[in-house]
């Protein structure tokens, strides 16, 4: 059986974890990582998973940018943060061939079109990771809990590339599903992200549990507004989604959100992809979202003072 060639772009917590799983599954996994190139080349990634144990993931090739990739990638998996100064097309285009299936495992809503437009002949797969995973040192990835990945092909729904990737990852013990409603799933995930990512930053680092215990009504308002926007965009989420999200969050281990870690490390945050894009959609669909508007404005002030 042919060995799949996979290139991970942006091998932070998420990228290194799923890359490590695909390597375990027998794929030839290379990673592109600019800032940590040296240490990853020398040592690989130290994956510490609470559910799967610890192991070293040594990528087949470590490169500094997509232009250094010499093979013909079956899958390019883009796992960078989406920030205003990142150009997702530029990050991958040098390594994309006509056979490459482009996967993005990234946060945010309405982030599809840019890639569909730039690579009209390639299959584009949207991926959502439900995972508690942090990278506390450049080559140490800590997988605290969960890990479920949901994939959906955006433009080639009849191909089986998404299913093949899902099978590979599932074989390592991390559930991976394929859905025909990946955009709705993305809005569903935005319920959680739009609430807990900004609130963890604006509260100066309170845990998801502390936020919920003291301000559950605010969390519900945020989630309701995201649901309203999603519905206006044509994606009606189950009315139970908010309760489910809240129950699941109570059951989560103490967790520092990715946005909080970015904030504390003075790195750009995904404010635009998560809040900004949702608010843009609301304006386009003439939906009021005063709570999101307030959070967004406060995040902008917070960025300014950080």
């Amino acid at each position: 059986m042919k060995q799949d060639k996979i290139l991970i772009i942006g091998a932070g917590a998420i990228g290194s974890f799923y890359g490590a799983l695909l390597s375990k599954a027998g794929c030839e996994v290379s990673v592109s990582c600019r800032s940590d190139f040296k240490i990853i080349t020398q040592q690989g990634y130290n994956i510490k998973s609470n559910s799967l144990g610890s192991w070293i993931f040594k990528p087949a090739h470590v490169i500094e940018s997509a232009s250094h990739y010499k093979a013909d990638a079956d899958y390019i998996i883009l796992c960078t943060k989406i920030t205003p100064d990142s150009d997702r097309v530029k990050l991958i285009e040098a390594a994309v061939t006509k056979n490459t299936c482009i996967v993005f495992i990234q946060n945010g809503v309405e982030i599809e079109q840019e890639l569909i437009d730039a690579f009209p002949n390639n299959e584009i797969i949207s991926g959502l990771a439900f995972i508690c995973c942090n990278r506390l040192e450049p080559n140490i990835t800590h997988h605290l809990a969960y890990g479920k990945l949901t994939l959906g092909s955006l433009n080639k729904p009849l191909s089986n590339n998404a299913q093949h990737l899902a099978d590979l990852i599932s074989s390592t013990g991390i559930e991976t599903l394929v859905t025909e409603n990946i955009i709705a799933a993305r809005w569903l995930k935005c319920l959680w992200n739009a609430a807990f990512n900004p609130l963890s930053v604006l509260s100066d680092g309170l845990s998801t549990e502390k936020i919920l215990v003291t301000q559950e009504a605010l969390v519900r308002s945020i989630m309701q507004e995201v649901m309203n926007i999603a519905r206006a965009c044509g994606y009606s989420l189950a009315t139970s989604s908010i309760n489910t999200n809240i129950q699941n969050t109570y059951a989560m281990p103490p967790y520092k959100t990715s946005m909080l870690l970015d904030y504390k490390n003075h790195r750009p945050m995904e404010t635009e992809a998560i809040l900004g894009n949702a608010i843009q959609a609301a304006k386009r669909e003439h939906i009021a979202c005063p709570t999101l508007d307030t959070l967004y404005a406060l995040m902008k002030l917070k960025e300014l003072s950080n």
Copy 2:
């Protein structure tokens, strides 16, 4: 002419400044201050005013609590912060006689009834200070700009005690007015306070100017919601109030709000008096205020992590 006996309770920035003015105007001004009793007894207050110059204000008597006041006060002027753990009635009652006129120069809305109920036979005067004034050291009060005081009798509108106090302060060069609409004036002041006090804290210390330049729309939303609540409570503010407030704020010198100073010094903040009471009024009058709700919830989270 009889010398007015005045007792200032809570001689922070505001209390020490107006106390110093009344002393200048010839009154016998005593101050009650718990935490800074020693240094004030020894050195008095060093008043540094950008418009009036610098001088030392030596109170007639410095006491630790109202119960130590031996004279018959013509005016007790309460200038403490209003926080959930402060008992305004208890702070003053030991020094209140049947002749005492009770003045409060404090932030917040709907803070009148507690004092009216506790002292039904005394005149109660509500005071609003429009002033940039900070106390950066226990006995150094820095008056940066403005200073206008507005006074209004709550239960004895035909007495001239408010006017007499206003005349005394005005004689020192700080404009002091008497109004029959002090509650409306309080709501008007809340427009500014509800916006800039929380935003200065939630932005981790941005100046009023930076907040305005980048998030004027948020400031306007907050002010509009406060106006809506005030109107529902029977106090219709001029529609130009928001524009005037914003223009005046652009013209202000760089200023750290009192709430920001409290936050940075890990002291209780006036979240309840300013935001909480406005939101309570909104709920009572069935007025939506989603922006205030969000700010309030975020302030609660911020208090929790501070």
